[in-house]
């Protein structure tokens, strides 16, 4: 038997989370060290898994399969391919840096890390699972701790409202998708006599076109709610803003990818004909996401809301790339999930650092932070350049193929979508100018300090990844491409 690396990655966080609960609550340093160790361990394993994936061979690797409930065809079945490989790596990165950023949490850190790690297990699980039942199982495990993390440790002003709104939106999405998944299971079982939740089998079930056309919207939108698709994106900026820093990082960086990934994995890959029938209006909706999201971001005065809406805009690009159903678009979307995940984690980390010092996020009240925390603006500018899709950074290699794919579909859509880049540049530059440059307001004089060493480590990690992927795209592009090839085969070799 081969080394069960994916299972270890999936269960390391939750096991650590439960062990942390056994440490006495007042020994906060031990709790943090344990959390950091688990984060580092999961990161190393995901890096290892990522680089030992054999791109030439392609397909699903590191497969593990154990029967769970054979009577219904439910099994614990995980595997890694070119699509979810980068996402596992992303989760490892965000988890590790999230622990670093959360070092300063002083109110019940034990419970905080326990919930955060339960969430991380759910996220890893959704990415690697190949069983439809397991996917829902992990999905709900990933979503629920969010409620507690936001409502207990979040921003006091809106946390109750935002946490409830987020949870209800996401659960409505997931149960609607669940109905679609059960319909697939029953239809495939009745037709073939093989009752199974195994997605590798369901892919070959050969659902009729009318069935696919009927159920695709249920499944796709059920999950795309978590991907922040218009008009169901409303929970996301509120949720981001109310969440504590590490949770915002997780939320925007990883959790929203969960939605987009599941919409791809279950929606597009299991119901390809349905995807073809519905793609045109999904592209229109995501176009609204991209342009409208960027526009709303540019008129916000709250630093965190700007980043929150920028996530809506960028995640729109991901869904849009998937909806083109062509090679370039999907390749770009796959890369954008990783690139945006790291970038937005970086952004939220910076927002958190500024807020911790200034205790306000109103952009007009801030200024001159370059003087007190010199490393932070550098990191933010790198993130900003990624966000604008500047060559040399990961954003370029992700967004450029998406626009190519859109051009291949309908040139005018690519042109309209490209407007978002201009708007993005406007709000990023405005933040850089107003928050980091200019003069430090008097009331902050002597009250704001530089960030801690751990914060710096986190920022350096995140920005390094963005630059490396931008300069050496070959460490990620071939892998995602192999994943896209698999999807394209399901779509009929388009």
């Amino acid at each position: 038997m081969q080394f069960p690396i994916l299972s270890i990655i999936v269960f390391t966080p939750i096991v650590t989370g439960l062990l942390i609960l056994l440490i006495p609550a007042e020994r906060k340093t031990e709790i943090r060290v344990a959390a950091l160790a688990a984060g580092a361990f999961a990161l190393l394993l995901s890096i290892w898994a990522y680089f030992s994936y054999d791109i030439a061979a392609g397909g699903y690797q590191f497969i593990e399969k154990y029967d769970w409930l054979p009577a219904l065809g439910i099994s614990y079945h995980v595997g890694m391919d070119g699509m979810n490989g980068p996402l596992v790596l992303l989760t490892g990165i965000v988890m590790f840096t999230g622990v670093l950023i959360s070092w300063g949490i002083d109110d019940r850190p034990r419970e905080f890390f326990a919930f955060l790690f339960i969430l991380a297990t759910g996220v890893f699980g959704v990415f690697v699972t190949l069983d439809l039942f397991m996917l829902f199982f992990f999905y709900e495990i990933a979503v629920f701790p969010m409620y507690l993390l936001i409502s207990i440790w979040g921003w006091k002003v809106t946390r109750e409202y935002a946490a409830m709104k987020l949870t209800l939106y996401l659960f409505i999405g997931s149960v609607v998708a669940l109905v679609g998944a059960l319909a697939m299971y029953v239809t495939a079982g009745t037709a073939t006599g093989q009752w199974t939740f195994d997605m590798l089998v369901l892919e070959k079930a050969g659902f009729s076109t009318s069935f696919q056309t009927l159920w695709f919207p249920f499944v796709f939108f059920g999950f795309a709610v978590l991907g922040g698709i218009f008009p169901f994106h409303n929970w996301s900026p509120d949720g981001h803003v109310a969440a504590p820093t590490a949770v915002s990082m997780f939320h925007a960086g990883v959790l929203m990818k969960l939605g987009a990934f599941a919409a791809l994995r279950v929606g597009i890959m299991l119901l390809p004909e349905g995807a073809k029938a519905h793609m045109w209006w999904i592209i229109v909706l995501t176009l609204v996401n991209v342009v409208y999201g960027a526009f709303i971001a540019s008129v916000q005065t709250d630093f965190k809301y700007v980043i929150g809406f920028s996530s809506v805009s960028h995640m729109g690009l991901v869904s849009m790339g998937f909806a083109t159903l062509n090679r370039e678009g999907m390749l770009g979307a796959g890369l954008q999930m990783f690139s945006h995940g790291v970038m937005t984690a970086l952004f939220f980390a910076v927002v958190g650092m500024v807020y911790d010092q200034a205790h306000t996020r109103e952009i007009p009240k801030l200024g001159g932070f370059r003087k007190v925390m010199p490393l932070v603006p550098i990191a933010f500018i790198i993130g900003g350049l990624v966000s604008m899709g500047m060559p040399g950074f990961s954003g370029f290699i992700a967004e450029f193929p998406i626009f190519m794919g859109l051009w291949g579909y309908k040139p005018w859509i690519a042109i309209v979508a490209a407007l978002s880049i201009v708007i993005t540049a406007s709000y990023i530059i405005r933040i850089i100018g107003n928050v980091f440059f200019g003069s430090l307001p008097e009331e902050f004089e002597g009250h704001v300090h530089d960030v801690t060493v751990l914060d710096k480590v986190a920022l350096v990690c995140l920005s390094t990844v963005l630059v490396i992927v931008g300069v050496f795209p070959s460490i990620m592009v071939p892998m995602v491409e192999s994943g896209v090839n698999y999807v394209l085969r399901l779509l009929g070799g388009a």
Binding site: D67, W68, L69, P70, A71, L72, I74, F133, F136, F137, E140, I141, F144, Y147, L148, S151, I152, E160, M164, T167, L168, F171, I172, V175, V176, L178, V179, L182, A183, Y185, V186, G189, T190, W195
Partner: protein, 501 residues
């Protein structure tokens, strides 16, 4: 004529329960007043032993009819018998430290009597037996609900339960008499299992080719009685008032064991008495399910008393289980395969999960309310700081009620919806999943009070007796095991369901 001792085997659990009742009765006489709370230990341990020694009574030979066709000895009745005995044992643990309840022997005796009735209810194979069983469940429960004679609310609760119960029971009896009148027999279960016995109601109905309207009429009358037992809308009005007034452990017992027994009777009746294929069946049951879960959930949203909230939530859960029942009546008409019994399997699995989960919820409310002296939701503000362990158990049980993995409720709901979709009741499944979101909202609201809100009493800790600790620990382990190791539980539920085919 010699008596074959093996004929006692099918009723072994009931016999042991009777002996346990006698032991409690005698001990109640000899024990001094201050030691009588230990009767709770006697009952709980006794129930545990009954479960253990019931093993020889399992239906190894498949389903059989015994005692002259009065009792059906099959996996469904065996499963439910163990389930209600478990529920009663846990209730005894929760009750023993409850003031004015745990120190009185008659409480335990009444509960045991009611449990015997439930066991017979699950296995009744004849109208007369069924009616006797239902009454022997109900009458002790009327007394238990009104156990606190000095408390106006408790008295009201007992009296209300009695009035509603007597009325619906009379209507149901009228339905029974109609059925008897039409068919000339009281046998419910088909004769192929026990040759030599007379024809069943179903045989006679089919032979005489009665018009559907007559069948539907008597069906509706019978359904009134069952609807009352499982607190389905529109026969649910008693539940909130009775739960609110009754001693909390009794309310927990009412909402779990009594409801479980009602569901098993409903399933048995649907399969054996009313011929599958009456076209109105799925419509009636779907309407019942939709009304029950939607009304239960919507009214639960506005409740400010935790016991009333749990009452409406338990009404909503009856609605989810009715989805499985509706799937059960559709299926055999549209397909003939092993998956046709998913309807029953899902209900049985849901019952197991629900019984364990809801008992835990009521256990927390009993343990907390006993000290705090209030069941108002405001009393739960800041509970996580007063009693962190209790708050954690409350979170586990409420999340399980909401259907969150990896807890028991998730797979229960999953199976029910699967059964519905398999039966092509897609609209019903969609309404069901949307209802579960409403449920999530009010469960989360309570958890918000528990974890987020502050109160002035945060420094006053909540003492937990050993009985509560043991009972709650058992239930929490159960909730997690049923939610993660689903295979053995599913196979058990599936075996029980197979007994019906």
């Amino acid at each position: 004529m010699s008596l074959d001792p093996t004929i006692f085997l099918p009723v072994l659990p009931e016999i042991m329960l009777l002996l346990l009742g006698l032991v409690v009765l005698v001990l109640d006489l000899v024990l001094p007043k201050e030691q009588r709370r230990n009767l709770g230990w006697v009952t709980a341990v006794g129930m545990g032993l009954v479960i253990l020694f019931s093993w020889p009574a399992r239906p190894v030979n498949g389903s059989t009819l015994v005692w002259g066709g009065m009792i059906s000895h099959d996996w469904l009745s065996y499963t439910l018998t163990l389930l209600v005995i478990f529920g009663a044992g846990i209730t005894a643990l929760f009750a023993m430290d409850y003031e004015e309840l745990g120190g009185r022997g008659e409480f335990y005796l009444l509960m045991i009597a009611s449990t015997i009735g439930m066991a017979f209810m699950a296995s009744a194979a004849d109208l007369v037996m069924l009616y006797l069983a239902i009454e022997s469940v109900s009458i002790p429960l009327y007394i238990l609900a009104g156990f606190f004679v000095r408390d106006v609310k408790s008295t009201e609760s007992g009296f209300k339960y009695l009035l509603f119960g007597a009325l619906t029971s009379a209507v149901m009896l009228y339905g029974f008499s109609l059925l008897y009148g039409f068919s000339g027999t009281t046998a419910i279960i088909s004769t192929s299992r026990a040759p030599g016995l007379g024809p069943t109601i179903l045989n006679s109905i089919q032979n005489d080719q009665l018009t559907p309207i007559v069948l539907i009429g008597s069906l509706l009358l019978v359904l009134v009685g069952f609807g009352f037992k499982i607190s389905a809308v529109p026969f649910h009005f008693w539940a909130p008032d009775v739960y609110e007034g009754a001693p909390t452990p009794v309310a927990g017992f009412l909402s779990t064991a009594s409801k479980a027994a009602g569901f098993i009777v409903l399933i048995r009746f649907l399969i054996f008495v009313f011929p599958i294929g009456v076209t109105q069946w799925p419509v009636i049951l779907s309407a019942l399910a939709v009304a029950t879960m939607t009304l239960g959930n919507l009214i639960a949203l506005t409740q400010r008393n935790i016991k009333r909230l749990l009452a409406y939530s338990s009404i909503a859960h009856a609605g989810y289980m009715l989805i499985g029942v509706a799937a059960l009546v559709v299926l055999p008409t549209i397909q003939e395969d092993a998956h046709a019994m998913w309807g029953i399997t899902s209900v049985v699995y849901y019952l197991i999960a629900y019984l364990v989960t809801n008992l835990a919820a009521f256990g927390v409310v009993a343990a907390y309310g006993r000290v705090v002296g209030s069941d108002d939701v405001t009393a739960y503000y800041g509970m996580s700081r007063r009693a962190p362990g209790l708050a954690l158990i409350m979170m586990v049980s409420f999340l399980s009620l909401a259907g969150m993995p990896p807890l028991a409720g998730f797979f229960g709901k999953f199976l029910v919806f699967l059964a519905a979709i398999n039966a092509k009741l897609i609209g019903l499944a969609v309404i069901g999943v949307l209802n579960s979101i409403i449920g999530l909202y009010y469960y989360l609201t309570i958890l918000k009070y528990v974890y987020l809100y502050r109160s002035e009493d945060e420094d006053k800790s909540i003492p937990l007796s050993r009985a509560y600790k043991l009972g709650l620990a058992l239930l929490v382990v159960g909730i997690i095991l049923i939610g993660t190791l689903i295979s053995p539980w599913y196979n058990w539920a599936s075996t029980a369901a197979g007994a019906m085919f």
